[in-house]
Structures are given as C-alpha cells and as structure tokens.
C-alpha cells in the first residue's frame, strides 16, 4: 500500500465505517456534492447517497441538534464543522444537550463531531482554533486530537463505534503534510490511551497533534546535545491517560508540556495538576510549558509565527529544564 496523508486516512475511516454499518451517517455543510471544504468527505455522496450524506444549511446548531436526534434513533452520525472554529455557534447544543444526555436521563449519544483545527496556515482569528479545552472541561464528552495518519484513522473508527459523543479534532496543518502506510485490514486505536513516541531518560515532553512533530524534531536536536527526551503523545485529551503521563514523569523526573493552544487555561495546567498530585515526589525540576501566546490567532505570517509555539521555544524550555 502506498503511504497516505492524514486527510486520506480520515476519509478512509469514514468510508469504511459507513460500509460496515448502515447506522453511520454523515451530516454537515457542503460535505455532499462538494465533498467538504477540505475534501475529507469527497466521494461519500456518490457512494452512500442522499439519505446518509446530508448537506445542511448554514446552521451549526441544527447540525448538532439533528445529529443528537439521529443518535437517539440508534444512528451514529458524524457531524462535520466546516472549520472547527464554528463549533462556537453550537456550543450550547454540545455542552448542554449532547454532553449531559446520558448522565441526566440515560440516553446515550453515539455521535462524532469533527473538523479542521489548529493554526499555521494563515487562517487568521476565525479559521485557526484549537478549541479542545472548552470541551475537555465538559464532562460527558470525549476529546481526541491525533498526530499521525495511523492514529487518526484508528481513533476515528473507535470514535464512531463509541457510545459517547466524541469531539474529533483534525489538525489541518498536518492534513497533507504527513504520510504513512496504513494496514490493509480494519484496525482501531483505543480512546483514552496515550503513546510514548520516543523513549528517553532525561525529560518528558507531554504533547499532541501538530506539536508532537515539533517536539520530535526538538528531541532529535537535544539528543545531539546529550539530552534524552521521552515524548508522550496524548492522542486522547479526555479522558486523559494519567497513567502514561505519571509513568513517564516517574521515570524521567522532569516534565515539559507543549501545546499549540493558548496558555492560560490550556491543558498544560491540568497536566501539571495531575503530575503534582500523582508524582510530586518524583519531580526534580519545575513543570514548564510551551504554548501559544494569550491572544487571538493573528493573521499575518510573522505574527502567527510569533504567536505559535515552535521548535526553538521547545528547545529553550527543554534545555532549561535539563540543566535544572
């Protein structure tokens, strides 16, 4: 098999799940005839028809609302937000209707909400969002943010088969920039399990999505400097895989958290708290974080570059921590 992009991996996951189970349907703006703003759903309509591939008006609340309704009927809708930024327009449906349904009255909501996320493509303040923390802070949801094509496909399949509402974030900077050979056969990646992408002894970097790649790059440089970095790729942000994080921290005794999301209230805080609670005695240095700045995502390239965390930021923080 030829290597495929992350975008293609996501497309395959949707196709294969729809082939497998007629209860899986897709809904969103411009996903049918057009095949989606990023062409993730290209070919879906031809294959599965109008009943299962639903083009909607510009109504995010209707999309999510209708998806919940369909899930109550035992279907498994996959709802696309054209850009994940527009999730703000259906925030109420997601946090109040979707997330609380099973807890309140035992009605499971097997649905996936997915969309292109993240910065680095000059999308500006409304096409670059990393909205994970709004939903990591919403009990009842699961939140996934993969960094590889393999994980994207396997996790999306798990998400579609899950009985809970899952927010599946796709980093658009990675869509076509990474390629991988995928297994011929059906496979899934379990939700809620982080993975150690690189073993190391000196320092743990906990990260995910696009920053995983920047962290790996930084780790290579650091290796040359004699600093052996372990990289934990979270993959699932909610539920958080505390075990893998703590295990790594207990081994390396130093923790650096890297995320592309803005700093204040970002997931690094949660991870820091988890580490303090579960591995305080093991920490041989402060917990540091490398994140985006606390501002909207600026548009112009030099501004966006400054705004986003980069390999150099990771290197400085890691060196500081290693020297501690």
């Amino acid at each position: 098999m030829a290597p495929v992009t992350m975008l293609e991996a996501i497309r395959q996951a949707i196709f294969e799940e729809m082939e497998r189970d007629p209860a899986v349907v897709a809904i969103g703006e411009d996903i049918g005839v057009y095949g989606g703003a990023f062409k993730v759903t290209a070919g879906l309509l031809e294959r599965f028809g109008w009943e299962r591939v639903i083009d909607t008006p510009i109504s995010e609340t209707a999309i999510i609302g209708a998806a919940v309704g369909m899930s109550y009927q035992g279907l498994r809708p996959i709802a696309e937000l054209q850009f994940i930024d527009f999730i703000a327009c259906c925030f109420n449906q997601i946090t109040n209707f979707v997330a609380k349904s099973h807890y309140r009255w035992g009605a499971p909501v097997p649905m996936v909400m997915r969309g292109p996320s993240g910065g680095g493509v000059h999308g500006g303040p409304f096409h670059s969002a990393n909205p994970e923390m709004y939903f990591v802070h919403t009990p009842g949801l699961k939140v996934i943010y993969p960094s590889t094509a393999y994980d994207a496909k396997g996790l999306l399949k798990s998400a579609i088969r899950d009985n809970n509402p899952v927010l599946f974030l796709e980093h658009k900077f990675l869509y076509r920039r990474i390629k991988e050979e995928l297994p011929e056969d059906d496979y899934t990646v379990p939700i809620g399990k982080a993975i150690v992408r690189r073993e190391g002894r000196d320092l743990t970097i906990v990260t995910y999505a696009a920053m995983m790649h920047s962290s790996l790059e930084a780790a290579e440089t650091l290796a040359k400097e004699g600093v052996d970095v372990e990289i934990v790729d979270l993959r699932t942000l909610l539920p958080l895989d505390k075990e893998t994080i703590l295990q790594s921290v207990k081994k390396t005794n130093k923790l650096l958290i890297v995320h592309e999301d803005t700093r204040t209230g970002g997931i690094a805080g949660e991870i820091a708290a988890v580490a303090c609670e579960g591995a305080f005695e093991d920490l041989d240095g402060p917990i540091l974080r490398v994140t985006a700045k606390d501002s909207p995502v600026p548009f112009s390239p030099p501004l966006e570059e400054r705004f986003l965390p980069n390999v150099n930021d990771i290197l400085s923080a890691a060196r500081e921590l290693a020297a501690y």
């Binding site: 082939e19 095949g35 031809e46 609340t61 209708a66 009927q73 009255w105 076509r176």
Partner: protein
C-alpha cells in the same frame, strides 16, 4: 378536514386534561409544603393544548415536552407518580433524581426525548429524530412544543429551517400563552400571529384555539397526517394563556387583571365540560366518577412518591459516560440493504433549474405556489433543485480514489511553502 372522535375518545381527552389539572394543583400543594425541589412551573390553563396535540399522535411517534407539557407526557403513557417524583427529586423518578420537572424521556418504549432548559433546542433535535425515522423506514412523526418566547431563539430558527429544507415529518406546536416569563408576546416580535413565523420557512401553518381541546386535536391530526404522508413539517400556533406566573415564586403582577379575567372565562376544562354535556357525551355521574378516579390515582401516586427515597449520594458520580450500559441498535423498518450502496449511489451534482434571476411576475406566481409545492423527499426540493439520483459505479468495499483535485481553502501566502518550525 374533520376527524370524528368516538365517545370514549372524547372522555379520554377529558380524563387527561382533568388529570393534568388536578396533578398541577397537587404539585402546588406539595410546593407549599416544601416537598417540591427547585422551581414549579404550572400548566394551568394550557391543558387543552398539551393534551389535544399529543392525542393526535400514534404510539410509534415521538414527542419532546417542554415544562408545561405534562399533559402530553400523560398521554404518552407516563404516570402521575413519575411527574411527582421528578419534582420531588426521588430515586424512583424517571431520572433517579439526576434532573427535575419534565426533564426526562424514554427512547425505546414511549419515544419521549428529554428537554433541556435552554429554549428552542428541541426543534433541531426532533428534526433529527424525524429524518432518522424516515431513513429507518419507520413512518413516524415527531412533535415538540415551543413557547411564544422560545420562537425568538436561534435554535428555533435553525431547527425549523432545517426541518423545512429536509421536509422532515415534524409537527411544531407554538404554544402561544401570551407571556414569556414577564415578557408579553408583542415584545418578542411585532407580529400578531406567531403562525406567521412559518412563512420564513415555506411551510404550512395553522392557528388554533388552544383552549378548545377538540379543535386542537383536529388541527394537529391534520398536521400529523400531512407529515406522515411525507409533505414536510407543519407549524401550529395554539392561542392560550399561562394562568399563573412563570413559576411559583412569580405572582405575575405584570399581567393586567382583565387579561386573566378574559381567559378565565375561556378555561379549557370548563368549556370542554360544557361541550360534553351539550353533546350528551356524559352525565354528572361520569364526571364525578372521573374526579373520584383521578383523586384516587393522585393519592396513590403521592403515596408511591413519598415512599420513594432520595437517591443515594454515590449516584452523583455514575452515568456520566455510557460504558457498556447500553447496546445501541436502530429499529429498522426497512431492509438495511436498501440503505447501502450501490442502490443509493448518486451523481454528486445539483440540478438547478431556476437560476434565481429577478423577474417580478414569475416571482409573484411562484411565491403563492411555494408552500404547497414541497415534495416529500428530504433529499430534494421539488422546485428548484433536484438531486441526481441515478446509480453510478458499483460497490467494492473500499472508498474509491479521490477524483476531485485536492485543493485547500487557503492560498499559500508568501511563506506558505516553508511550513513552520
């Protein structure tokens, strides 16, 4: 159209309305005894609307109630004890104490979706239930209620608009009870009839005397049949009156006394009693038997409710996620095969036949024809867009290769090629 009711049906309507009323009164007493937890939202004066609309549905149909639709819940098979225990926050309530009021439901048996407090949100949800029902071949209709106030929400608009576009079998009852908390209808929107909201979606609407249970039933039955025939959603405005404050704490001093008097004189139960008498559908004995029966039912219900314990604290931590507690299975009423390729494969193409140009004469003509012209198929709108439905290709179990050239929505800009560090 007219839908004749048998004597038994007439009496059943009475039973539900009176039960609704007396349960309401019982709840008020319990509230004063501090046995109700949280707010209590009276249904007083709206029984005919709730009961009459729900009564037009069949067992397979779905509803989602709002706070003042206890009547609809009773028609759908919930028992007074369920309502009492919800309000009293007991362990044996439908939500085991996790939520209160009419916030409960039942997916498999009664087909009831639990509302949330945020107004309007049920409209898209019941649209989703409706289109899923169509896909599964269930031939169902879904119904929900919104208040006059809730018609101002974005969720109402997005939901009804989507239902219209999809020709979903949804009956939306706008329960115009004149007030939204302290706000009169005229401060929600300067239109006289909320039924006019339907004009924005090209769907038919009806206005009905919400305090006349038979009229409500008739109008709803017509709408339900229309929906079931695949003709798309219908909006029904029921004109009625909230005869109490928004909730128990609210004395409704902002409502002119005369307005209460006007509506008091049109009490739906008193009116229906008169109707039953005038039409020789019952006698005094039937009436007092009903009252006695309901009294007993409510006393029994209260006993059940009072006996039910409060939930155990540990329950607070349970059920946030569905971890194997439910097996999710759609109720297929058609062959699954039908839903699978290649049968349903289509060309990804809009067949636009009306180019939307400015043409005053044709604009006028089309306009008047619009409401009736919507076909029954959610996938196409009969007038201007037809979806190409011809079968193409065959199934090979793997997605075909992407034929459309891959394009990204953004230009690269001066630094795009480098990626970033």
């Amino acid at each position: 159209m007219s839908y004749p009711l048998t004597r038994d049906q007439h009496l059943e309507l009475y039973y539900y309305m009176k039960l609704n009323r007396m349960l309401d009164e019982q709840l008020v007493r319990l509230f004063r005894q501090n046995k109700v937890v949280g707010g209590l939202y009276s249904n007083l004066g709206q029984e005919a609307t709730s009961v009459g609309t729900a009564y037009a549905l069949e067992k397979r149909d779905w509803i989602a109630p709002m706070i003042r639709n206890v009547g609809g819940l009773l028609v759908k098979g919930y028992k007074p004890a369920d309502i009492l225990m919800q309000y009293m926050a007991r362990y044996d309530s439908p939500t085991k104490g996790k939520d209160g009021t009419s916030h409960f439901g039942d997916l498999k048996g009664r087909h009831v979706v639990s509302p949330i407090s945020m107004l309007g949100d049920l409209v898209p949800v019941m649209t989703g239930v409706a289109i899923a029902g169509r896909y599964l071949g269930q031939n169902i209709v879904t119904m929900t209620w919104v208040g006059d106030g809730a018609t101002s929400t974005g969720a109402f608009h997005e939901g009804l608009n989507f239902a219209a576009t999809q020709h979903a079998p949804l009956v939306l009852v706008v329960e115009n009870n004149q007030w939204a908390y302290s706000t009169p209808v005229a401060k929600q929107v300067p239109i006289h009839d909320l039924a006019d909201r339907a004009k924005a979606y090209g769907i038919p609407s009806a206005i009905v005397d919400g305090n006349d249970v038979v009229a409500v039933y008739q109008a709803t039955k017509e709408a339900v049949d229309r929906c079931r025939a695949g003709k798309g959603p219908v909006l029904i405005e029921a004109k009625t009156m909230r005869m109490k404050g928004h909730a128990q704490h609210d004395p409704a001093e902002y409502v002119p006394k005369k307005m209460f008097e006007y509506w008091e004189a049109r009490d739906p139960i008193v009116r229906y009693e008169k109707y039953l008498t005038e039409n020789n559908l019952w006698d005094e004995k039937t009436k007092s038997d009903f009252v006695a029966r309901i009294e007993k039912e409510l006393n029994d219900a209260l006993e059940v409710a009072e006996k039910s314990p409060f939930p155990p604290p540990e329950l607070a931590e349970q059920g946030v996620y569905c971890d194997g507690c439910h097996t999710i299975e759609a109720e297929w009423k058609r062959s699954k095969k039908e839903a699978m390729p290649p049968q349903s494969s289509v060309k990804p193409e809009w067949e636009v036949t009306d180019f939307g140009g400015f043409d005053l004469a044709s604009t006028m003509a089309k306009q008047s024809a619009a409401a009736g012209a919507n076909g029954g198929n959610g996938a196409k709108s009969a007038r201007t867009v037809a979806a190409a439905q011809k079968s193409t290709g065959k199934s090979n179990g793997r997605p075909e290769k992407l034929k459309v050239a891959a394009r990204v929505p953004f230009g690269r800009g001066p630094k795009g090629k480098e990626g970033r560090k």
